[in-house]
């Protein structure tokens, strides 16, 4: 054959082997391909380097010294949303998330040098410090409320204008629970500690307040242990595991000291991460055991309530909704039926399932900022799917999804209310109280 070619097959041993990437998970993949059609980026591009099987093969090739960890490699690993839909599809139970997170740790954060420096600053100097985060939120609120935003917006270049339009509106009040105990209403069934989170109390303070009220109505004493911080999910997803490990340790100390039955998380991404602290710290002699114990206590709020069973009385809430499975709830924590069970328990709520409810909306942490094209492509598809479904409201128990869906509704339609599952349960309890008063 006439083609003079570079024979890739002769290039074995071209790069050094990378032991840190030689994970046992790699050898559990028998490359059957059942993950392909469940992967949002493969569905969009139809390129196998942008599929879970492809990425696993790339990491394995790097571990074996067959490819370099160059920019192209990095692009493939970072185009992944880490939605973990492939884990749900995998018959062998390959934990792809662990493979991708380890590879990203080796690669470091994504983007240009400037972007990496900014990310590094945010990940190590802002996220782990609740007071600094609060200051950022205050500044953002001032920017939005003072009229400054309206003033300078027309002067910004298009790209920045678009980023500005994705900024969430900072509400007037933050959720600041302090150290008090929120007592159980009625018979006491459990003592739980809640993660306040990093963005939840600042952007979705009302959801945290609602979660506390619902837990109280279900016989739970609720506390917010002091010294808890951001869970570290964003750090892990963007190749900053060292910072994440320190954050995990601080949370483990804080929550285990509280002496509770369960740790409740109402943000799917955080819940998935905290359930995996045991894995994150598996090689840390001082923390491995405590981390495993901690992880076993973590429950998503909806998962917990469905498991212990809702306490009556729930009032009526007249609403037709569709349900968006947050990736890190459905795929990351395998929690699918419980939120639906809770929605169906509320009289008046009608749940209409949409096509592809467990497909990523494109939010994926900071992905919507790092990969706007793919993110918007997935969001458009999601909005079409919701429009076809016809429900005027969507329930998505995760802050990232909620922000993304609100933005999608404004930009692409249809007009849509976006709720957390706890919002609706809170309303149901409130409407029961109201009818008691009548």
């Amino acid at each position: 054959m006439a083609l003079e070619h570079v024979d890739h097959n002769q290039e074995h041993g071209g790069s050094a082997k990378i032991d840190a990437l030689n994970l046992p998970e790699l050898y559990q993949c028998v490359h059957c391909g059942l993950c392909l059609n469940q992967c949002p980026t493969y569905r969009a591009l139809r390129l196998e380097p942008e599929s879970p099987r492809g990425r696993i093969h790339l990491v394995r090739a790097a571990a074996e010294g067959r490819v370099e960890l160059n920019e192209r490699f990095k692009e493939h690993l970072y185009l992944c949303l880490l939605c973990r839909a492939c884990e749900t599809a995998c018959p062998s139970g390959v934990q792809y998330g662990r493979i991708a997170e380890t590879a990203r740790e080796k690669l470091g954060p994504p983007g240009s040098r400037l972007a990496r420096a900014v990310l590094n600053f945010v990940f190590t100097r802002v996220l782990p410090y609740p007071r600094r985060l609060r200051t950022v939120a205050l500044l953002l609120r001032w920017y939005q409320h003072s009229g400054l935003q309206r003033l300078i917006l027309p002067l910004l270049p298009k790209k920045l204008r678009q980023m500005d339009s994705m900024l969430p509106r900072v509400p007037d009040r933050f959720f600041e629970p302090g150290r008090k105990v929120f007592p159980a209403i009625g018979q006491r069934r459990a003592k739980v500690a809640m993660l306040n989170g990093c963005v939840m109390p600042l952007l979705f303070g009302e959801v945290n307040a609602a979660t506390v009220r619902v837990l109280q109505s279900n016989g739970c004493d609720v506390v917010f242990p002091k010294n808890q911080i951001c869970c570290g999910a964003l750090n892990i997803h963007n190749g900053e595991q060292d910072a994440a490990k320190e954050m995990a340790k601080q949370n483990i100390d804080a929550f285990l000291a509280a002496g509770v039955d369960t740790v409740i998380v109402n943000s799917a991404g955080c819940g998935a991460t905290m359930k995996e602290y045991g894995y994150l710290l598996r090689d840390d002699p001082a923390y491995a055991e405590r981390a495993a114990i901690f992880s076993s206590l973590v429950k998503d709020a909806g998962e917990f309530l469905a498991d212990i069973g809702l306490v009556a009385p729930l009032g009526r809430v007249e609403m037709t909704v569709t349900y968006q499975d947050p990736c890190h709830l459905a795929h990351g924590q395998r929690v699918r039926s419980q939120p639906r069970k809770l929605l169906n328990a509320i009289a008046g709520v009608k749940l209409l399932e949409m096509e592809g409810s467990d497909r990523c909306c494109g939010s994926a942490g900071i992905y919507n900022i790092t990969h706007p094209d793919m993110s918007q492509h997935l969001l458009k598809e999601k909005m079409q799917s919701i429009a076809a479904n016809g429900a005027p409201a969507v329930v998505a128990p995760n802050p990232g999804c909620m922000l993304q869906l609100r933005y999608g509704s404004e930009r692409y339609g249809p007009a849509l209310k976006v709720y957390h599952l706890m919002d609706l349960l809170d309303r149901a309890y409130a409407s029961a109280d109201a009818s008691d008063l009548k």
């Binding site: 054959m1 097959n9 018959p91 139970g93």
Partner: protein
Amino acid sequence: MSRNALINELRAIVGEHYVLIEKEDVIVYEQDGSIFQVMPEIVVLPANVEQVSAVIKAAKRANVPIVPRGSGTGLAGGAVPAEGGIVLSLARLDRILKIDLPNRIAIVEPGVINQDVTKAVAEDGFFYAPDPSSQAACSIGGNVANNSGGPHTLAYGVTTNHVLGLEVVLDDGQIIWLGGEVPDTPGYDLCGIFVGSEGTVGIVTKIVVRLMKTRESVRTLLAVFDQMDHATQTVVDITGAGIIPAALEMMDRTTIEAVERGAPVGLPRDAEAVLIVEVEGVREQTEKAVEVARGICQRNGAREARVARDESERQLLWKGRKGAFGAMGALAPNYYVQDGVVPRSQLPEIMRRIAEISKQYNLRIANVFHAGDGNLHPNILFDMRTPGELDRVVEAGAATLRACIELGGSITGEHGIGIEKKAYIGLLFNEADLEAMSRVRKVFDPDGRFNPAKLFPTPVSCGEVRRQPANIPAGLWL
């Protein structure tokens, strides 16, 4: 033509993003669902038939092999570019072009996912019958290339029974239609030549598939056995009793262990074998048939034989069965699956022989297969990283195939020949048979560039196999 000139030409045809040449891109295409690996030099992803045609013309001028690829889920190395060259991915030709329910056909592009055809017509009460275990990911184009079957092959036949017409691109880039939208076209059945040709005669770009009406009632029975002999005898008895199930599947203890470790569906891990028996038809008929089948299971010593209570329970059983190959990763890093066939009456004997082979070669073998039509899938579990193990695996695989032939069977039911079974096709056909087939191939592929070094025991007209890439076991080359 130089490599660079070819690449530039391909870029002009499909756009820069869809010509992959960097190692970090093409390495992903060195594998499919099998154990074979050879890296392509170039991967091209055209978006429509015109681009396919232009790519084929360019490849002809450059005299470079073309290896078509769908989803890369094949189990015999069919999509692995044995001689390098261009991998032509048809993944972007993924539209369902027409659904014609009154005439019960659909026209689809080759990259359409098998399951998506059924999804598109399910609400109207139709389905596309061939259902390979990989149907959630595999493409219709790949199904055509391999003449794929699936659990329901027993009742509905294989892909060739469901393809009425094909649009194909020939070796010189010409676009032609074979067959059509009606069942009978006069003259040679050229459509039949393309189905099962494994990419060796041209590139399929449109497929007219038959749609079938969903049956009124379906009943699915799970029977649990403590002895393999009892399970195999049950299969013989059920088919002997005149019941034709829509599917009759078996999983052995090792397979159950893989499924329950990988993605559990609640199968009994202490059972030696389970059977899944599915009957379809009008309600009265299925109720009766499933009871007869249950009775036969019990007479043969089944410790449990229960009918799935609802659709979700039924889907769970099928999820376990269809995920079984992929689940082998939960037991071992590699598996080598065979695709032998035996007459149903020989099932008890072949299972005994496979157990002996497993002992003799000291290799774990997981059996999961279409028992109803005697189509075996022994999965030999191993670790490629253990020196020498692969050779033993290949020998054990050959031993299972020889046993199949001794018992009056064949070497492949549905996975295709690919790279994997080239060495064994001579066991089934004599030289004159093969010569006739290779003449047919030459008519369509005079330069021997369409998926070379596949299907036939020796390369047909393109000279010798030039190299033996590292990851193809030596024993598989003739």
